[in-house]
Amino acid sequence: MKCQECDKQAVFHITELETGEVRELHLCEDHARTYLNQSESAEGDDDEKASGGGLTGPLTVGQTADELALLDKKACPMCGITFFEFRNQGRLGCPHDYVHFEKELEPLIANIHGAAQHTGRKPQRPQADEGSQLSEGSQLPEGTEELTTVIGLRRSMQEAIACEDYEQAREVRDGIRGIEDRWLPDAARDPGSPPAGPPTS
């Protein structure tokens, strides 16, 4: 990888948290030294930190902590996991996290894999049900984002039931069925009353 400031080989890979965003820097030795000197002098200058004015370099400590705290509270609308919980467990909560936390995850994933684009196989999609209203003439998309919204819908259905708003719960349930029918043809599913499975050995 080349230094982002010149044509030399990048030997320093720095991750900076700035205004709630994670920024990656890839620098050669010379530019890394210049960069790090800058940030040290910025951190050392309390007045500048307090006024917050004219800072183009990395964030000061106080701001970084605030931003981190905000980021930690960000929660996935589908499964409800916060970024803080993910950082603690190292495990994500649902497929939608890759979309919801994309900005935060991207540098992390790029760091682990040295890449940020899948180039391997794609799943063989189950055939869309021709009889279903939703699938009329439409092809299922490559990504399964739509089906994953069922995770959030299931949660709101449970909430509606808890509030005894059965009409709302029914509506949400019909919504879930519509999406599931489109993606999962031959499957009769009712999240509320799972049919008994075959015996196991």
């Binding site: 391997g120 499957a187 999240p191 075959p198």
Partner: protein
């Protein structure tokens, strides 16, 4: 499926056949997959867990590959049976120790295993004896296609197959070989080899995967990254380094025979002696000694033992197997006595005597 019937066979990873099987014990490929409409395992409610288990079990059993598989409800197994499956490398330690609805579907040859509700909803594994990554990959690709045409795997055009841990995202593939490298251990070259493997993004693990100790000079080499390369490229990445490692180990073995013949002969003979006469012995020591004897046999220093017997002893002296074969549950102390007795009886019966 009756687990006890499996105890009579050695299982795929110790079958001791296939190319380069003097050094490469087995080749394994696994794929991590999740169902798009449920949270990942660590965030599932008990109800979700049950539904995912049922959904995948039904979809797997109605696929054509499913007809050749037996389903085991791991959640209902006794601890010893779960340990038994771990020893045969059909489920992971994490899967054995987890809670709640989970299961595994395995084929009669013990090559294919599909774990439900491990770290991901579905972990497909395919294992072949000896060096055969290509064969294992071809087989697992077929299984994945069949299951994938009935199960909506969580997938994103940019991130690929979505997994609970970002370290597996993309292809979700882990390609690994289990190597027996006693001569590199004895000649103290093993750390150097591992350091160079880390530099090319390959991981080294012990016998039972992540976090496990390297027992009996057995090591698993696998890819560390899963995104940005195709499955074939990752299979090749691991496959390319294996001949190099085989060559190192062979040269180290030759060196031992050439330069330290008396020493190495003494070492393997002592190992053999302990296995034949000990009155109490741990699983770890047994594995370590069997490893040395295995090398001794391959170097022609011990003439009257077969490699197949050593492989068979490697699995049958492990805790759950030992108890299954004995038919009773034993505590650690009694297991060590029973293990020594089993080994003595095996070697008493003559060089190729049946262990029964």
């Amino acid at each position: 499926m009756k687990l006890d019937t499996l105890a009579d066979a050695v299982g795929e990873w110790l079958r001791g056949t296939g190319p380069e099987s003097d050094i490469v014990m087995s080749s394994r490929v696994r794929l991590a997959r999740n169902v798009a409409q449920y949270p990942f395992v660590s965030r599932m409610s008990d109800q979700d867990r049950g539904e995912v288990e049922r959904f995948l079990r039904e979809r797997i059993s109605s696929s054509s590959v499913g007809k050749e598989l037996d389903y085991i409800d791991v959640g209902r197994l006794e601890e010893i049976d779960r340990q038994f499956l771990v020893e045969r490398q059909l489920i992971s330690r994490e899967h054995a120790e987890a809670q709640g609805a989970r299961g595994v579907a395995i084929d009669g040859l013990e090559q294919v295993s599909l774990m439900i509700n491990e770290e991901d909803h579905l972990r497909i594994q395919c294992m072949h004896s000896g060096l055969d990554l290509r064969g294992a990959w071809e087989q697992i690709r077929g299984v994945d296609d069949q299951i994938g045409s009935a199960v909506p795997y969580a997938y994103h055009p940019k991130w690929g197959y979505l997994t609970a841990c970002p370290t597996n995202v993309g292809t979700g593939i882990r390609v690994s070989v289990m190597l027996h490298l006693p001569a590199l251990v004895i000649t103290r070259q093993i750390d150097k080899v591992f350091r160079s493997l880390h530099k090319i993004s390959l991981a080294v693990r012990g016998l039972y995967g992540e976090g496990s100790q390297a027992m009996g000079d057995f090591y698993q080499i696998s890819n560390q990254t899963t995104l940005g390369k195709s499955e074939e490229e990752l299979v090749e990445q691991v496959g390319d380094v294996v001949p190099v490692l085989i060559d190192y180990e062979r040269r180290a073995r030759e060196f031992l025979v050439r330069e330290t013949q008396q020493n190495v002969h003494d070492q393997v003979s002592r190992a053999y002696g302990i296995l034949r006469t000990a009155q109490t012995i741990t699983a770890e020591e047994t594995m370590q000694l069997l490893s040395r004897v295995r090398m001794g046999v391959l170097l022609g220093l011990i003439g009257d033992v077969k490699i197949a017997d050593i492989n068979s002893l490697l699995i049958r002296t492990q805790p759950a197997h030992l108890q299954k074969l004995r038919g009773v549950e034993l505590d650690t102390k009694d297991r060590n006595i029973e293990r020594a007795r089993y080994l003595r009886r095996h070697f008493e019966g003559g060089p190729s005597g049946s262990p029964n």
